[in-house]
Symmetry: none
DNA sequence: TATGAATGAGGCTTCATTCAT
DNA sequence: AATGAATGAAGCCTCATTCAT
């Protein structure tokens, strides 16, 4: 019983989300999944909002750790792609948690000031982690330096989220991360006259599988 | 009493969302806001899910109409920026509705097949509208033709959403749309050797203090 | 439109009951079935209670008329059996209405005095009709005269109702009316020593069908 | 708090019925009467239908126990009368519950298969209990053996129910059980020539009291 | 007289939270 | 510390009844 009951509950709740039992998580569900009594949860979390908040935070922290641990691959482009792949995979697994986070941000007003602070700080952490990768790119001369990395990180994460979301119903058709990173670094526009040939074969439909 | 009571209820509910009274919309609230009896709502909408679904659909349709009506400005770059500005503004106003849509997609399983179909179709409409603008860019030689416009549209919308979301608490600090469009068209990377000078003044923090 | 809209509504409601759509008759249902607007019902019936009351009354009156019209068959025994057959059949068709009547008697307190009176009077009518048949039997020396016919009628109707009810799920196994009338007239007991032989074949199981 | 809260709720609900507060039992009423919270009921009963079903079953079981416990009095006739008296009294007390049972049978379709089975089984139990008493009569040579006891039991119960029902408004005028049993055993008809004298004083009006 | 959209009281049920054990 | 039965506020929805057309 060492892994701290708090941890057990947290894991169980996260798992519930991952298992698509989204609809509306009840404390009963969480207790059952964690194999503890309903009352026990209240010995470790102030109330349901607190629990959700902790889950979300927990998720972000994991993700941040993941990002920070990105191996310093050789080429920046490859490094960025690997990072995106990781983030994307994480999002895939946590779709429900992320949705919950979204949904929950609307209620931030109900949370106590301290929590609110900690929460927004957490939100910045992810973008920060990605931004720090990008700033490596700047140092290496691979990323434009006329824009703040924070902003670029935000945009990159936005792209990733949109891709994952739009193709969630048919992962087979989802364009590869490389393509996304390509657009991010090279842009969607035509610069000078050589851009039309970026990809050898002209129009691309990223091989329909299913 | 001409504007169809259905319309009245819809508007009222949307307004409720916009007025940040999000937490959890109750049918009571909606009725009150619409100035009708609780039962009246059920004469026009099957149940709460149906109402939410209709609101979401309604929102998307408005947005699609907006996009489709984008004036054919001179330069493609300017045209795209104007479009993004419109979409962004729409999102600002509809944050809550959009959140609700997100939150709701998880429950799509509960909706009847027909609704589900109509819903996913709606989702595609927006991307489609943006994509059609982009394809104009392709025709004009302003957008790379090696990637499907649908995908590019998804990425652009993702960027927009992320920007709006990340800076929702401090709209003053929000980077201008032009900057976003710039990244989208030119990329975040350094191409050749001249990219470092894209913006004259080097590092940029887009002023705005608080 | 001559058959009086009142009559139309009444018939439609009765039919609804007969069609087993019991659960809980709504005014909407009745209106639909009668092919009239909901409001129209209120031009002919004070309220739902009144409507139900009228249906019940209507049913009783039909039944009373049926009983009164029993042909003066030759033998009293046969006459009584024919009568019972009719009543039973009527009950079969009106199970739902009868249940509703039962259920409704509990609410008599809510009905205005006049209605209450008329209702109880109606209740007596049926027993009265049967009693009058029985009194013919008394006159003919076929029915014992030491007990009031009203009472005997009550008992006979009780037997009939119980039979119909108990075998409603398997009408094929329902003992024939003759047998019931036999018990009613001759009794279930053994009188003197000859009763054991009333029915020739000893133990009887009235031919199991299913 | 030993008598099981489930039991408490059941008793309270039954009592409510007995106290004529029929109209329409609300869960609120039941909770109040049982002195528990509304939610508590749902910890012991699946929903309202289930509660009603349990009440009905409970009532039948009590009655069956009562019947089975009928003392083996000396004379069969007296024994039967005592039994009928008991059943009648029970019915008096449970009029409302019984009405509810009636009313409820119409909805049996909505109940799950298991319940349906258990219910019909319960229904048979009562008739069975009475039938077993009657079969004692057969053994003693007091009841005709040419008819199945089940059927006779049904008829007897029907008579009882009808008597109780018809005279519920004026219990004082209700004919004594002995008279009913008399009709049941000896029949309402005239057998041979001596029947007219069964009761010494000719026409009988069972002394008007109230 | 006929209609049916509008109404809102009232019912059933859920579920976060408490507290006695 | 752990439990889960008890609680009741709050939400969704139904449906008898009204009333403007």
């Amino acid at each position: 019983m060492r892994p701290n009951k708090r941890e057990i509950i947290l894991k169980a709740a996260e798992k519930l989300f991952r298992e698509r039992r989204i609809h509306e998580l009840t404390m009963e569900d969480v207790a059952q999944a964690a194999g503890v009594g309903k009352g026990t949860i209240y010995n470790h979390f102030e109330n349901k909002d607190d629990l959700l908040f902790q889950i979300a935070t927990h998720g972000f922290e994991e993700l941040c750790a993941l990002v920070a641990a990105t191996p310093k691959k050789d080429k920046f482009h490859a490094r960025l792609a690997a990072l995106c792949e990781q983030i994307s995979e994480f999002f895939q697994q946590r779709r429900a948690v992320m949705r919950m986070i979204h949904e929950h941000e609307g209620r931030l007003g109900h949370l106590k000031e301290t929590m609110k602070e900690r929460w927004l700080e957490n939100r910045r952490k992810l973008a920060g982690a990605v931004a720090s990768i990008l700033s490596q790119g700047v140092a290496e001369g691979a990323v434009r330096r006329d824009l703040p990395c924070d902003f670029l990180a935000t945009l990159l994460l936005g792209m990733l989220g949109a891709r994952d979301h739009d193709f969630s119903h048919a992962p087979g058709k989802r364009p590869p991360v490389e393509m996304l990173v390509g657009v991010f670094l090279e842009g969607a526009g035509v610069i000078g006259g050589m851009n039309g040939a970026r990809v050898s074969g002209g129009e691309n439909n990223f091989g329909e599988t299913s």
